[in-house]
Amino acid sequence: MMTAKEVSVTNYFFKNTLKKLGYILIWIIFSSLFFPWVFSGFNFSSISLRSILTDTTLGPVLSILISGIALFPYNDFKLLIQSGISRKTFWKARILSFLAVSILGQLIGIVVGLLNPYTNHSWYGSSLYMQVYGKYFGSTAMNSFMGLCFILLSTSVVTVGAIMVGSIFSLFTKKARVYIFIGLFVMAVVFINWISAAVQNDYMLNIIKHTDSFLHFIVGYSGTNARVGAWNPTMPFIVAVLTGVVCLFGSYKIMELFKIKNE
């Protein structure tokens, strides 16, 4: 059950996130009309609403935007700690509100996708899950239902993951964050160098093979169901749930460490 304060904070995050999302969407719509207009020599007739609508799949876009918003929790934390709210409530409200927004976003995305006059109103075209796993079960209804579950589950995992990453960064001061970014960048460069050097010997090839079979395992590919569309979705579900649980737990543990920084 939720206390009155938990409800208030969750509501606040929910509304605030919707507001930010709306603001970003307006800008996206504006720029997706503005730039084609400019580059077509200020000619309105050349903008094809049809191509814009067919090219855009709302669900993934919303998922990315919401995750982006979830990356920056510190300002909200400042306001809440000033307002006598505990970190526990902060975490709970944040998880609940962002999950609600993302799930809502996906549902809207699906509805818009199905109503979109320029697509074929089919799950199979617009959902990666349906393309890969959509023929696993015998019944279409079951496949569609699992597809829906997977979309909602995966968007939740992505959001919770973003909340965790954001909370990690919020532990550091601005200066430390810059150093970490530089550090990660350097590590990436070194790693790529190492790979490209290592690929040339057998040892590395071995690792890649193992990685390959590991990936197959994760995505549910077993050779026997090699036909794309009928892969086994069990492993992806398990992986998503596990990742979600780890991120939930991780973000909670990290937010417990939140404090007002001296900067």
Partner: protein, 288 residues
């Protein structure tokens, strides 16, 4: 009942900021928390309000730890130099947020105070000057339904008129609500008479903890010719010395010896809280 601060310790980068601070706040009193810069006042207040963590010790409200408890934290408001409100939000919007998070908010009172101080509630928080940021935060502090209100440097940037008005409104509020206020400030003279109880913090330790009147009863200035003063003060707790020409003064904190005969040449006077503070903290400084 009240807030108990129990054995709080805090280090920053191996530097000791608070070493074993314990104190009690009873409901319905005005406390002063005094200390020089770097004495650890803000750190202590931040720990009480759960903004940062202590290394050890606990803060207890009505018998239960305040740590991570909404009900307890909702009874505490810390107004500090740090600005934790969103820069882009309008004042009236922050009033609303405060209501949302604290459960209630007296808009009428808040607007009345805003009027008196000349604060425009349509203004954005980020656009306010230092003085008006203080005023805005003071208004929230006086209006918020928390029973324990901590004011860290409340008059930062306020001009003399606004300070007068603030003391007035603070006392008015105190009489009406019987909340507990803890005021931390460098302008000791201005608040001496407002305080009922005072804590003096020095190098992360509480060196004075007591009723202001009782403390002032033990604070003396013994003045006269150097030799007579020295004789009279032998063995007493001398916390500072001062001399002007041949007149010598010893600041004493503690009881005088009633059995000693006061020479005609020596006078016993009182000192005020500010003098006591300056002498005590100087002495502690010299010990280091």
């Amino acid at each position: 009942m009240g807030i108990e601060v129990k054995n709080i310790q805090k280090k920053f980068n191996k530097k000791k900021i608070l070493s074993d601070v314990s104190l009690e706040l009873e409901p319905g009193k005005i406390y002063g928390l005094l200390g020089r810069n770097g004495a650890g006042k803000s750190t202590l207040l931040s720990i009480i309000a759960n903004r940062i963590f202590s290394d050890s010790g606990d803060v207890v409200l009505d018998g239960e730890s305040v740590f991570e408890r909404d009900e307890a934290l909702g009874q505490i408001y810390l107004m500090s130099e740090r600005n934790l409100y969103p820069e882009g939000a309008k004042i009236e919007k922050i009033f609303k947020l405060t209501e949302l998070f604290y459960g209630s908010f007296d808009y009428e009172y808040a607007n009345e105070l805003a009027d008196k101080f000349g604060l425009d509630v349509k203004q954005k928080f980020g656009k306010l000057s230092t003085g008006y940021r203080s005023i805005f935060k003071l208004i929230i502090a006086l209006t918020v339904p928390a029973r324990y209100v901590f004011l860290d440097e409340p008059i930062l940037g306020l001009d003399a008129n606004h300070r007068e008005l603030f003391y007035r409104e603070l006392l008015d509020n105190y009489v009406k609500t019987q909340k507990t206020f803890v005021i931390s400030t460098h302008l000791i003279e201005e608040i001496t008479n407002i305080l009922e109880h005072v804590f003096i913090l020095c190098h992360g330790e509480v060196v004075i903890d007591g009723n202001v009147e009782d403390i002032m009863k033990k604070a003396y200035l013994i003045a006269g010719p150097q030799k007579d003063v020295a004789d009279y003060c032998r063995g007493l707790n001398i916390i500072g010395k001062e001399s002007l020409g041949s007149i010598h003064g010893n600041y004493i904190y503690g009881d005088l010896d009633d059995n000693r005969i006061l020479p005609d040449t020596v006078s016993v006077e009182r000192m005020d809280l500010q003098k006591l503070f300056v002498n005590l903290t100087n002495m502690e400084e010299a010990k280091k």
